[in-house]
């Protein structure tokens, strides 16, 4: 990917590509309430300090946890980008911030078009019936009542919940609930799509069905991000990969190159752990 400065702005854009997302120095900090104060070190000094610490530890327990610490990249139309990294590396947080769903602590995100997050944890109300949840989920995405009604049958059919659609969601099995959530979020194709580990839902049959649907959406959507800790999925579906490690961008490049070094490092860690323990 020859990155030349065709725009004259100082940001390298390869010829013929159109940027759809620009992220510059993005930072996200979690404010964690509860827990203990000084949870992340900062032990008090001296006997008096420690005694004071023991007493005041339960008041004002707000801990700031930096989850994303300055990530920059440009994504282009027609790209599918796999985002890999270990659990807790900040990859989901990063993409939620890009989608404008969680507050940022610094930096900028620019996007061309609407961004949607597809996941199995899109919240729905367990006290309400499947029908009402479908309506609620669709309206929240900005569809009209008429559009949701048109999608209704497709969603019910795709989720395979049948007559359960009339019952409250708390009566659903966890698999049924996850399938319904996926079906609601997969019913429309946005300009920029973020898929967060949604491909591991349900049984083998549903997984194949959802992978096919994601592929369909991928062809309609301009840019796709796939968050996964499975390099196999990323290799299969993406042409570019970004490796996030402890809130920092560790590597950005062609899928195979990034996945190879990621796997190499992960193998090294496992070997080291085995030797030690």
């Amino acid at each position: 990917m020859a990155a030349t400065d065709v725009t004259g702005t100082g940001v390298p854009v390869p010829p013929g590509r159109v940027p759809s997302i620009v992220v510059r120095d993005l930072r996200v900090t979690y404010k964690a309430y509860g827990g203990k104060r000084n949870a992340l070190g900062d032990e008090a000094e001296g006997r008096l300090g420690r005694a004071l610490d023991r007493v005041t530890r339960h008041v004002g327990t707000v801990t700031e946890v930096p989850a994303v610490r300055g990530v920059s990249f440009v994504a282009y139309e027609g790209e599918s980008i796999g985002v890999i990294g270990r659990n807790g590396s900040g990859k989901s947080t990063l993409l939620r911030a890009i989608a404008g769903l969680i507050p940022t602590a610094g930096g900028e995100v620019w996007a061309g078009g609407d961004i949607a997050l597809m996941g199995v944890n899109a919240a729905l109300s367990s006290a309400l019936s499947g029908e009402r949840n479908i309506m609620l989920g669709g309206l929240a995405k900005g569809l009209s009542r008429k559009q949701v009604n048109e999608l209704h049958d497709w969603i019910v059919d795709f989720a395979g919940i049948g007559d359960f659609v009339h019952l409250p969601m708390r009566t659903y099995s966890s698999g049924m609930a996850a399938r319904l959530r996926f079906a609601i979020s997969a019913s429309t194709a946005p300009d920029i799509l973020i898929i967060d580990e949604a491909l591991s839902t349900g049984d083998v049959e549903f997984r194949a069905k959802s992978a096919a649907r994601v592929e369909e959406i991928r062809q309609q959507a301009g840019t796709v991000f796939l968050v996964s800790h499975s390099t196999a999925t990323v290799r299969k579906m993406c042409d570019r990969a970004i490796w996030i490690d402890r809130g920092l961008l560790r590597m950005d490049g062609p899928t195979d190159e990034v996945c190879d070094s990621y796997e190499r490092v992960m193998r090294a860690i496992r070997r080291k752990k085995r030797l030690r323990g």
């Binding site: 854009v13 620009v22 610490r69 769903l101 996007a111 944890n121 919240a123 402890r246």
Partner: protein
């Protein structure tokens, strides 16, 4: 710590903010992480009105769905409550407190006050109790506190219906003034929607306000003339005027002036009702919008 500690040093961004802004301008990209201008924000909220209404009806419906009689309780609850007031204060005890029809006076007070109180307390929790929705779908966050106020309003309607049926039975014949009720309710709703947004913002800045709002509500319950007529108790001094024209007391009185023959219609009540409704809506919308990019943090 498992594994090796990577040299995890933060790096400087490869491009400057102005370079990126120029690029964004060239390709028509827009900022995602900052809220739009107020006018555009309100337009986006208006475009999601179907969502606000659906969320409100769903929430109101949900409240009474967990038992056999289901939605009947929306009317049964206020009926039982008002019924017991009429029984206790109308027949068993004689506590008129400067009021001709105390049970009717009290029932209106309780229903309207409960609506205002619920708008404040559930409005304060509207973001935190919908956190997973906030973190998975993008929409103007003001939809949440507004739909909370609307849900409480929908739950108030059957109670008002019950009142309209009960009042003639206890000696308050239907009057032309009843036709003014929708106007008073509209102003009341505007006030509560604004209040709900203000409380939601307050909790964002000071998380501990969640514990203080119920205290404030309890205090207001006793000074707003829910149980007694402020004019009859507090006289006609400056303090009495403040107590009568503070928004909660004012809206109680405004609704009573529409329903009860003993509270006369007063243009001043309507004027202040409009002032409070518009004032709270505008302040609520602005205050809530200014923090739009910050909702959804833990």
């Amino acid at each position: 710590m498992t594994g090796r500690r990577w040299p995890a040093l933060e790096v400087d961004p490869p491009w400057s903010a102005s370079q990126v802004a120029e690029l964004a301008h060239e390709y028509g990209l827009e900022r995602v992480d900052t809220p739009p201008g107020l006018v555009r924000y309100l337009r986006q909220l208006w475009e999601r009105r179907a969502f606000v209404i659906e969320l409100a009806t769903a929430r109101a419906y949900e409240r009474n769905q967990n038992n056999v009689l289901g939605q009947l309780w929306a009317a049964l609850n206020p009926l039982l409550l008002a019924g017991s007031y009429f029984l206790i204060f109308g027949l068993l005890l004689d506590t008129s407190r400067g009021v001709d029809n105390y049970p009717a006076f009290l029932s209106v007070g309780i229903f309207i006050f409960s609506f205002i109180a619920a708008s404040a307390t559930t409005g304060a929790k509207s973001i935190t109790s919908n956190l997973s929705l906030v973190r998975s779908v993008r929409f103007p966050r003001a939809a949440l506190p507004v739909s909370v106020a609307l849900a409480e309003f929908l739950l108030l309607l059957p109670a008002i219906g019950v009142l309209l049926v009960l009042l003639p039975i206890v000696g308050e014949p239907p009057r032309w003034e009843w036709l003014l009720l929708p106007g008073a309710m509209a102003l009341l709703f505007g006030f509560c929607a604004g209040l709900s947004m203000i409380c939601a913002r307050l909790v964002l800045d000071v998380r501990d306000a969640t514990n203080l709002i119920p205290v404030a509500v309890r205090l207001l319950r006793y000074v707003s003339g829910v149980f007694f007529s402020i004019a009859a108790y507090a006289g006609h001094g400056a303090l009495s005027l403040v107590m009568q024209y503070q928004p909660v007391a004012l809206f109680l009185q405004l609704v009573r002036s529409c329903l009860l023959s003993e509270v006369p219609q007063d243009p001043l009540l309507w004027l202040w009702g409009a002032v409070w409704a518009v004032g709270f809506l505008v302040v609520g919308a602005v205050v809530f919008w200014r923090a739009e990019g910050r909702y959804g943090r833990d």
